[in-house]
Amino acid sequence: MSAALFLEPAWADICAFDDLPVRGARRVETSGAPVAIFRTGDDRVFALIDRCPHKHGPLSMGIVHGHQVTCPLHAMVIDLASGELTGADAGKGCAPRVDVRVHGGRVLLALPAS
């Protein structure tokens, strides 16, 4: 996510914070790769490219626990903050992070400018 290196990232207004299910995720279609936005049990918000580094499963369909998500295809566990695989698969791949923030009850996503 470094395309707009010297620009302010383009913050796209995606949805209301309350539209995100607690311990769940929603998928966002973009002009590029789809993005998964996660809301954890402690109301933190994370975003990753919606593609498991293992076999490309949709992470937005996984079960969210702690600050992790378990991929629905082969139960790989991904750390939401880093996008990295964890456990025995640590270091074997990573779902790229996307900057996300909550402002005024809205969820904003930093998308590449291209």
Binding site: R23, G24, M61, T70, P72, L73
Partner: protein, 825 residues
């Protein structure tokens, strides 16, 4: 030695052989120096590297091929290894330092490793070329055996050694009548003495494997080109449909021999694993070191380490291996090492426990352990093996030696962890995955692991064949000290709790816990909101405990149950409408056809459960697809559910000239009564109208086989990962009785089964007799169970498709789209 470096400045290393030795050698080299070599590997089998010693569990259906892959494609990619899989090297030119394959690939090397393994020995008996005569060496052999075993029948295995017995056990597990033919009078005579051999023979018999000892094969008999039997020298003829030769292996040294590299039985190597040609090395089963060829995994790993040292500039020194053996037959615990049979100057210490079927023999020579045979309880095998290898004087402990490590060291007030503490960090603990003690200890410390499961998940130690489990547990104990909580009794539900399933279920009811957070609080969960294992389990337990009260938590459901369809590899879904008892109509088929066309659904498939599967539906299309199917009267088939799936039927007395009862009608009735119920794992039913059993009821979770006089109720079948025939629960005279019993047994399973535990596993745990007593013999209990099932159904028979087609849970199927980004331009 002139070194020809390639563009990247690396030396070119070629490995012939993509098996366990070749790959392990490469792993060891990469561990020492990641950047020194540009590596190319040639493998005769057209696939990635797998764990050949685990072929037996694959044959037995206890593991799948995927489970035994050691290095997947990503390993080759990540380490920039060029793999030629399925390309056989046909020539080595040791002068030009080039290898060539049959299809014209030629590659130059600076260093060449021969890891060509071994070939199975095929007895030159008449008829050895008949169809159905196989060896047991690679996954193709396993596939052949599995496919033949699918037709049942008889199998003969020639060879009563390790491999032959594992083959016979696997085939028996697959439903064949298996017989082992062995030349000697004792099974595994190179590893076992006569007593242990006899116990093994008995244990195998109990598992459906017969043995014929002292038998010499003379001729393989055939008809129409296929094997039909084996004739022995004494004139006996044993019929068979499959004949496996497992009489031994022979080092595969042909390539080396053709290239004039010195070969005796195997390729001759020195202590640094060098063969007798410049830049050429050999490792594994193809190598011969100090007159010895090895066919077990431990010595091969030791060779690989010595070779890697040599190839990365250290002095590699392999000095030969002391051997130990374990047999991979489930429930048969056998260990053998060293001079187990004793001999002159040796003393034996023997322990027997007939009740438990335990036999232990420890052989002592000059005050040291010289060998051991353990049968029935081999947990101390590793300890005896270490005492033997290290040449420890055991004179002081010989009176308790045979009782094992814990007894010996505990009685003397020694710290039972001392031996583990004394182990060097580089000592390999898990041979299957190549994990050393140091790696386990650092994982425990760095990640705060405190359970065996945790160590397995992080390091993979003891996660394959499991024979190093006691050692891994001891390392965990020694590392954690007082922080270690011994896992006595049942395993915890998952790493988030120390409570096992049964305790969780009991306390939910006893303490009236009615939500996931309440349960986690009361049972002192270790994580804030559980994990992908415990949340779905708790959700189910609560749903089952409090019908009509508990509110289902969608975020604790696996995706399939959350969106009521089955996720596919590309993220699309499959949709399976219910067809009661497998019956359908022109109207339903027309509606399905219309849906397929309207939504451009890419694939339509008939399933094994007598349903139609629509594959490749996008998530956002699901509610509209369901609406159309609903309009034709069809509801969710729950093909995605840990719940009632399908009731398969035959046409019974409606059409069939053999039908004894209305099997279709009963199947439809059961399905209409039971659909929508959630269960610990999926539940599949079938009703066959006569014992010809066209609905295959005897491999279902619950099956009914109709007979003239009534209905046989079968339970506990499986035909997936495991294959298991059902057991007969009881026989009843009327349809009503059959329905009551089936619902009662289902409710008992709902209330007491562990999450993801299929009915056959549940029955194996609690015993069929318990079920007979509670559901068949005890009418009051049966009726109470039936009533609870009926009550629970009042809350579960709402079609989830209709609810969502009408707009429920719309956000789940909607998703969001990012607006166009004009601002960024």
């Amino acid at each position: 030695m002139a070194t020809h470096r390639n563009n990247a400045g690396k030396e070119r290393l070629i490995v012939i052989g993509n098996g366990m030795a070749g790959c392990r050698a490469v792993e060891e080299i990469l561990k020492r120096d990641r950047d020194r070599y540009q590596i190319t590997m040639f493998g005769a089998e057209p696939r990635v590297n797998y764990n050949r010693i685990m072929l037996s569990p694959v044959l037995a259906g206890e593991k799948t091929f995927d489970d035994i892959i050691i290095n997947g494609e990503d390993w080759y990619r990540d380490n920039a290894i060029t793999l030629y899989a399925g390309k056989q090297v046909t020539r080595i030119d040791t002068t030009a330092r080039v290898v060539e394959t049959a299809c014209g690939v030629a590659a130059a090397y600076d260093a060449l490793i021969l890891a060509t393994g071994s070939d199975p020995i095929l007895l030159p008996l008449p008829g050895a070329d008949l169809q159905g005569v196989v060896a047991f060496r690679d996954i193709d052999d396993v596939d052949r055996m599995v496919s033949i075993s699918g037709r049942g029948g008889r199998a003969i295995v020639i060879g009563g050694g390790l491999l032959g017995l594992e083959a016979a056990y696997g085939l028996a597990r697959r439903g064949m009548d298996a017989t082992v033919i062995h030349l000697m009078d004792v099974l595994m005579e190179r590893q076992l003495d006569a007593s242990a051999g006899f116990l093994l023979q008995e244990a195998l018999k109990a598992r459906g494997v017969e043995t014929v000892l002292g038998a010499q094969s003379e001729e393989i008999l055939g008809a129409d080109g296929k094997v039909v039997g084996l004739k022995l020298k004494d004139g006996r003829v044993l019929p068979c449909d499959l004949l496996v030769m497992a009489v031994g292996i022979r080092p595969n040294a042909k390539l080396a021999k053709d290239a004039n590299i010195r070969v005796n039985r195997g390729i001759l190597v020195d202590d640094s694993m060098r063969a007798l040609a410049p830049g050429v090395y050999a490792v594994g089963e193809c190598a011969e070191h100090r007159g010895q060829c090895y066919g077990l995994v431990a010595p091969i790993w030791e060779m690989c380490r010595a070779l890697a040292d040599t190839l990365t500039g250290a002095a590699g020194a392999y000095e030969g291996s002391v051997l130990s053996t374990r047999l991979k037959v489930s429930g048969v615990d056998v260990f053998s090492a060293g001079r187990f049979a004793g001999g002159e100057g040796c003393e034996d210490i023997v322990f027997r426990d007939a009740g438990r079927g335990v036999y232990k023999r420890v052989v002592i020579e000059n005050g040291k352990v010289a060998g051991a045979v353990l049968f029935g309880d081999a947990a101390d095998g590793g300890w005896y093996f270490d005492l033997m290898r290290q040449g420890v004087d055991v004179s002081d402990i010989r009176d308790t030696l045979v009782f094992g490590q814990a007894a010996t060291e505990g009685l003397r007030g020694l710290d039972p962890n001392a031996a583990v503490v004394a182990m060097a960090d580089e000592t390999e603990v898990c041979g299957c995955n190549g994990i050393c003690k140091g790696a386990i200890v650092s994982a425990i410390e760095a990640q705060g692991l405190n359970t065996l499961e945790g160590v397995r998940a992080v390091t993979k130690a003891s996660a394959s064949c499991g024979s190093c489990t006691p050692l891994v547990e001891n390392i965990l104990k020694a590392t954690l000290g007082d922080g270690f909580q011994a896992q006595t009794g049942p395993k915890p539900l998952c790493a988030c709790t120390h409570h096992p399933h049964a305790i969780v279920r009991t306390r939910i009811i006893a303490e009236q816990l009615e939500s996931i957070p309440a349960t986690m609080q009361a049972l002192e969960w270790k994580t804030p909101d559980g994990c992908a294992s415990c949340r779905p389990a708790l959700n189910y337990y609560l749903l089952c405990a409090w019908p009509g009260i508990y509110r289902d938590d969608a975020q604790s459901r696996f995706v399939n149950e959350r969106v009521h369809a089955n996720i596919q590899k590309d993220g699309t879904y499959s949709v399976v409408p219910r067809m009661w008892g497998g019956m359908t109509s022109a109207k339903e088929l027309r509606a399905i056809a219309d849906v397929v066309e309207r939504f451009d659904i890419p694939a339509v498939k008939v399933t094994g459960g007598q349903r139609i599967d629509l594959l490749g539906v996008r998530k956002e299309q699901l509610p509209a697809v369901w609406a159309d199917l609903n309009a034709a009267g069809m509801v969710s088939g729950h093909a995605y559910a840990k719940g009632l799936r399908t009731v398969k039927t035959c046409v019974g007395t409606d059409w069939c000239r053999f039908g004894t009862q209305d099997s279709t009608g009963l199947g439809v009735r059961l399905e209409k009564f039971m659909w929508g119920s959630w269960t610990p794992a999926k539940v599949k039913l079938a009703v066959s109208g006569c014992p010809r059993n066209c609905a295959e009821a005897t491999c279902k979770d619950i099956g009914v086989v109709c007979v003239d006089s009534g209905y046989e109720i079968h339970v506990g079948g499986a035909a997936g990962l495991h294959i298991k025939g059902t057991e007969v629960l009881t026989k009843v005279a009327t349809e009503n009785e059959a329905v009551e019993i089936i619902c009662a047994i289902t409710q008992l399973y709902r209330e007491e089964g562990f999450y993801l535990e299929r009915i056959y596993k549940w029955i194996a745990r609690v015993g069929l007799a318990t079920l007979v007593a509670r559901v068949v013999d005890d009418a009051r209990q049966r009726q109470a169970l039936f009533a609870r099932f009926e009550d629970s159904q009042r809350y579960s028979q709402h079609d989830p498709w209709a609810e969502r087609a009408a707009g429920a849970d719309a956000a789940e199927f909607g998703g969001f789209a990012a607006p166009p980004l004009a601002a960024a331009e």
